[in-house]
């Protein structure tokens, strides 16, 4: 199950423009989430060629870090948020030292748990991806992109199969 970002959902020109730079989708690691199970969700941000966004740990304090903020529904607990490592990039404007950035694709994973009393049925975790993108000469306004992670909570003894191994099987975290 994957779900694309709602482009421009903030209603701002900034988010509309940035939606052309960063395309984000959400993924869930199980076909359905049994009560008492641990599972993962991911936001996959595809960044247009020639652009980058600051990593979660940017090289300067004044830079805006990429963050993912979930609003957890009843019965779902956040275990951890795992951000990918950035990579150093020397840009035309970073003459002193490389910037720590994401380019091409950044996958941010949420490790989650469904508690024993999690309500059964369709569940949504609203998340906000915050990022600020630049190219070699120009920076674009910071964006808070709202996304939704949707899945089904099922009884504890229900069998669920793993999904999207391409997203969830490799984990490089910082």
């Amino acid at each position: 199950m994957s779900r694309p970002a709602t482009a421009g959902a903030q209603g701002s020109y900034a988010s509309q423009v940035n939606s052309g730079i960063v395309q984000a989708k959400t993924y869930i690691s199980l076909s359905a989430v049994p009560r008492n199970a641990n599972f993962q969700a991911a936001v996959v941000a595809d960044i247009a060629r020639g652009f980058h966004m600051n990593s979660h740990t940017p090289s300067e304090a004044y830079l805006i870090a990429t963050t993912l903020t979930p609003r957890l529904p009843a019965g779902i607990k956040l275990v951890s948020t795992d951000y990918p490592q950035g990579h150093p990039a020397m840009l035309s404007f970073s003459t002193d030292k490389p910037l720590d950035v994401y380019s091409d694709r950044a996958i941010i994973r949420l490790k989650l748990a469904a508690v024993a009393a999690a309500p059964l049925g369709a569940t949504t975790i609203p998340v906000v991806l915050r990022y600020q993108a630049c190219n070699q000469t120009t920076c674009f306004p910071p964006v808070k992109l709202p996304l939704e992670i949707e899945f089904e909570v099922v009884k504890a003894d229900t069998k669920a199969s793993a999904t999207h191994p391409e997203i969830f099987s490799v984990l490089r975290v910082r």
Partner: protein
Amino acid sequence: MKRLLNVALFAAVICIATSNFSGCSGAPKQTPGTATASAGLGPAPDVTFKDLQGNNVTLASMKGKVVLLNFWATWCDPCHEEIPWMIQLQQKYADKGFTMLGAAMDDEGVKIVQPFVQKTQFDVQGHPTTMNYPIVIANDDIASKFGGLIGLPTSVMISRDGTMAKRYIGLVSEDTVEKEIRSLL
């Protein structure tokens, strides 16, 4: 800066964003690593900014001077790259009828811009120097009067008679800007 971009530029920017800055009819021709400049932009709009003390600052009050209006933000790294030579241009040409005017586009406004301006030291030929030119707070409405912003930095060169002589989108070189200042003084 929640509505930084003028809606008229929206399609052009999407085209830029998705086509690596080439092949978009009607959009600025640009490749990563280069900035764009355009000329002949008509009279500068009559806008009123607030400075960091809350006082009104009008562009009209600067008529008779060559003004480089620089839209920037504290979070914008390429903007920081330009600031040292903008400080130098202010030092060099302020008494010849030129002024820099830094228009900060931070959503948080004075709260974040003022401490940044007061505390941040830029390396100007080996000397730590704070910004020495007027800083005002700008927003999307103001930026839209200058044709809107695709991104930051964006600078607008305004001649002594109040005409917008040139607009630079993205990081631009000191030499390019200084030549333009000299030609207008």
